[in-house]
């Protein structure tokens, strides 16, 4: 099993190298991108005494610098808001995206802060080279429990592969927020949703300052 996996990843590496030679501006393969960014971020946190001691602002700055460029928050927000997205004005869309991004970054920071040296297993990508929408699978191994699957749904865009949904243990963030957002919009409209996201983010900011 392991041999097949390493053979497959060797093959992917060769293909990626070949692709890189053929077209100089070929984007980094999505699975390679996820692996590189994950290991880089975890490595940086491991070395950073301040982050390890609970410096949340610094952790968030790290996420913004290293992780955010690989997310497409506009698609993510559009998918999470669902059909109400079309009813929103351009200004409302921009606000929604901004607030949702802040919420997700905060959540991501908490998840990373809870990370304690678990091992990762990066699954070889099963996709055709022509695919533009893939799921990259990572598993977090832990003692005495089934590994936790983290799947990144990614789309090929002009400036490389971008994440538009994350599934943790089979739970899609976008799908989970969709029900929540729909009920807020039903009760108090798109502006109500912007307000409740902004309130949520403010309370998180206040909570983080106390930590």
């Amino acid at each position: 099993m392991k041999t097949t996996a390493s053979l497959a990843s060797a093959l992917i590496l060769c293909l990626a190298a070949a692709a890189a030679l053929a077209q100089p501006a070929a984007p980094e393969a999505p699975d390679a991108l996820v692996k590189r960014v994950t290991l880089e971020v975890v490595g940086l946190i491991a070395k950073d005494q301040e982050i390890r001691a609970g410096n949340r602002a610094k952790l968030i700055a790290l996420i913004e610098a290293k992780v955010l460029p690989h997310f497409d928050f506009a698609s993510m927000t559009a998918l999470a808001v669902g059909r109400n997205w079309r009813k929103a004005s351009a200004a409302q869309k921009a606000r929604l995206t901004e607030e949702f991004k802040t919420l997700l970054v905060n959540t991501y920071a908490s998840a990373l802060a809870a990370y304690s040296d678990q091992k990762f297993e990066f699954r070889p990508l099963r996709a055709r080279p022509t695919d533009t929408d893939v799921t990259v699978q990572v598993r977090v191994l832990q003692s005495g429990a089934q590994p936790v699957a983290i799947d990144y749904a990614m789309e090929k865009e002009a400036d490389g592969w971008k994440v538009y949904d994350v599934m943790v243990g089979g739970v899609s963030l976008v799908a989970n927020y969709r029900t929540e957002f729909a009920s807020v919009v039903r009760a108090s409209g798109v502006d109500g949703l912007i307000r409740s996201l902004a309130d949520k983010n403010r309370s998180l900011g206040a909570g983080a300052a106390k930590l």
Binding site: G82, S110, A114, G144, Q146, G170, E180, F181
Partner: protein
């Protein structure tokens, strides 16, 4: 007992009166929300403080041993559930895990089987019924136990009857083991529940939807067909 009957009746009536906004997967939402807020109070007042103290006092290495010990006790019936789902190879893996961990792993406190390449599985009777084709049915929040569904609630009852802890005697030892396992589980979930608290606009809906998605994924062993997230899939034609 009679009081519970009245509460249930009230909840069913309230359930009938929730109107068009009700989520079809959660027809008993008012009842569920009441139980949820009761559970949440118990969790804050008792379970969380105990779990935090346990995490503070007991070193991580020891907690790993405790988790492994209980995980090992669960493996035989995880295997039975895999057999019932027709996954013979997985079932054999689970039983082999139990044999290796109970012996070389010193009564299960070391998960040597994982190091031998025998991966731990997550199965229960609720998942077996799901594999056999049963949908979750109405979402349910059970007192003390939390998120469930009609299908998984029946499954949980069977899990309880097949749980080795149920047959430990004397009772004092049995209760002590339940308490230890519960504390260990709650401690393992402290980070997750804190993240949930931060991520959710409404904890009840967020947890419900995460539970339903998670169970669906488990029934398919992580290979559930992806739900279509396209913007038009919920379109009922009205917005056109």
């Amino acid at each position: 007992m009679r009081r519970w009957g009245a509460v249930l009746a009230a909840a069913v009536l309230a359930g009938c009166a929730t109107g068009p906004d009700a989520d079809p997967r959660d027809p008993l939402e008012p009842w569920n929300r009441a139980v949820y807020s009761f559970n949440d109070k118990v969790d804050r007042a008792v379970a969380q403080p105990v779990a935090r103290a346990y995490q503070r006092v007991v070193p991580g290495g020891v907690r790993d041993r405790v988790r492994n010990f209980f995980a090992n006790l669960a493996d035989p019936f995880i295997g039975v559930n895999n057999f019932l789902q027709g996954k013979v190879e997985d079932g054999i893996t689970d039983w082999a895990r139990f044999v290796f961990n109970s012996t070389f792993g010193l009564l299960g406190i070391h998960d040597v089987a994982t190091e031998f390449g025998l991966e731990k599985h997550n199965e229960d009777f609720g998942q077996t019924f799901g594999r056999w084709g049963a949908g979750p049915g109405p979402y349910l929040v059970l007192p003390f136990l939390g998120s469930s569904s009609l299908r998984d609630g029946v499954g949980t009852a069977l899990d309880f009857y097949t749980d080795p802890l149920t047959y430990v005697s004397p009772d004092e030892v049995e209760y002590a083991l339940w308490a230890l396992r519960f504390t260990q589980t709650r401690a393992d979930l402290l980070d997750a529940s804190r993240i949930l608290e931060q991520a959710a606009l409404d904890k009840y809906t967020f947890q419900r939807d995460a539970y339903l998605q998670r169970r669906r994924s488990l029934v398919y062993d992580g290979r559930a067909p992806r739900e279509d997230l396209e913007l038009d899939d919920e379109d009922d034609g009205k917005s056109r």
